[in-house]
């Protein structure tokens, strides 16, 4: 049986914890709003780019650009975008689970963004070849170094394909861990909507127009495809960041609610104990008095 003092001490510490989680919830909520807006604003650009390039890939001649076909090697490169900080629910765990359960061919090597990704993959004894620190909020210029690294690797021919694992942002309470193929150019899903479905409805291979390329197909692709890779990675990071702040907000809200419930239970117990002690004392006094009479 805990004493009233023990309970008082626990109430105090739970109160402190609730205060901290509440503050973190508010901070996350503010960041969440911004990250969500950024993610949803950028989506149409990335989606349209993907849609156009997938359509062009279908109509392009074989071997016009290395990004349209698989590399010669048999290795697979995976870029994992996780968070730097914890306390965001099962976000990173789910992402890593998804990565592990995805069937990837050949030898798999990893590139990471975010400390949690590097830590998690190291724990699973995976081959890690690079880790990029990306600040929050993310700047487009920072993504260039990641994009360039990945493209150099792919162009070297060692890798068959490149995938990106990240959390797709659907809404504040739902995020979907996804693994998407970025190279060779492939339909990708951003924000849960499969952009390829629309494309396949809109453009049938037979009714694709015969495009004229200016100045030439190879030149256009050479300019546009690196932009596409960088832009898509940027959008994926935005999705991951929106998911991160949303899940942290939700996790902290749950923590605050739990702490409040706990406070309620504890104070009930405290009051019961206090009342029991008072009743006991009263009993003692009355018995003592009766004994004297």
């Amino acid at each position: 049986m805990p004493s009233t003092r023990d309970i008082r001490r626990r109430i105090k510490s739970v109160k402190n914890t609730a205060q901290i989680t509440k503050a973190m919830q508010l901070v996350a909520a503010a960041k969440m709003k911004k990250a969500q807006d950024q993610a949803s604003n950028g989506r149409s650009y990335a989606e349209l780019m993907n849609k156009i390039l997938v359509a062009l890939k279908e109509s392009a001649e074989e071997g016009i650009h290395p990004y349209f076909s698989e590399g010669k090697g048999n290795k697979t490169l995976v870029l994992v975008i996780a968070t730097d900080k914890g306390l965001c629910g099962a976000l990173n765990t789910n992402l890593l689970k998804k990565v592990v359960s995805t069937n990837l061919e050949g030898e798999v090597e990893f590139v990471t963004i975010g400390r949690k990704a590097a830590q998690g993959l190291a724990r699973l004894r995976k081959t890690l070849i690079a880790d990029f620190p990306i600040k929050d909020p993310v700047k487009f210029a920072e993504v260039h170094s990641v994009g360039k690294f990945i493209q150099d690797k792919f162009r070297s021919g060692e890798y068959k394909s490149v995938y990106v694992a990240f959390n797709n942002f659907i809404n504040t309470v739902t995020t979907i861990p996804s693994v998407e193929q970025i190279l060779p150019v492939n339909p990708v899903t951003l924000g849960g909507k499969r952009s390829f479905d629309e494309t396949s409805k809109e453009v049938d291979a037979s009714e694709l127009p015969q495009y004229t390329f200016e100045p030439g197909a190879a030149t256009v692709f050479e300019t546009v495809l690196p932009q596409y890779v960088n832009g898509t990675i940027y959008q994926m990071i935005l999705e991951a960041r929106a998911s991160e702040h949303s899940s942290r907000m939700v996790a902290m809200k749950n923590a605050t609610d739990n702490a409040k419930q706990m406070l309620k239970d504890l104070s009930l117990e405290y009051n019961k104990l206090r009342q029991a002690a008072i009743t006991n004392e009263l009993l003692e006094i009355t018995t003592a008095k009766m004994a004297l009479e």
């Binding site: 780019m49 210029a141 932009q227």
Partner: protein, 138 residues
């Protein structure tokens, strides 16, 4: 048949409407696009873009990107698209000044990507200023 024009940047969908024609800076000089244009894919250069609709012309400063044209629509994906009316000349001039300054400081550090980024910034700023100046003289 009208031409459906879409201009999208990473920040937002800037423009999406039916227009009569659009003139844009393509890879090999300015290209005018009218409805039922032959299917075309080209790169967009930094410069100015003119949209004509019902006899009214809107001008925009645009950055690098991709243009896809089929008979019915023109899609422009670019990293910058600013309406001429919204260009803040003073702010752009300051940004240009800053960019030029940082270009000089980087040149000694010789980081290829940084130089490219700053050069692109200078080009974009210059395009905005030119568009603004041209408007004033007209």
């Amino acid at each position: 048949m009208p031409l459906k024009l879409e201009i999208v940047t990473p920040e937002a969908r800037i423009f999406s409407d039916e227009v009569d024609s659009v003139v844009l800076p393509g890879a090999e000089g300015e290209i005018g696009i009218l409805p039922a244009h032959a299917p075309l894919v080209t790169t967009l250069q930094v410069g100015e873009l003119r949209i004509t609709k019902g006899g009214k012309t809107t001008e925009m400063a645009v950055g690098e990107g991709l243009v896809e044209v089929t008979g019915a629509y023109a899609r422009i994906l670019t990293d910058m698209a600013i309406d001429a009316d919204q260009i803040d000349e003073k702010a752009v001039e300051q940004a240009l000044e800053r960019a030029k300054h940082s270009l000089e400081s980087i040149k000694h550090g010789e980081k290829q990507e940084d130089v490219a980024a700053v050069m692109a910034m200078i080009q974009r700023n210059t395009a905005q200023l030119q568009l603004k100046k041209k408007r004033r003289t007209v």
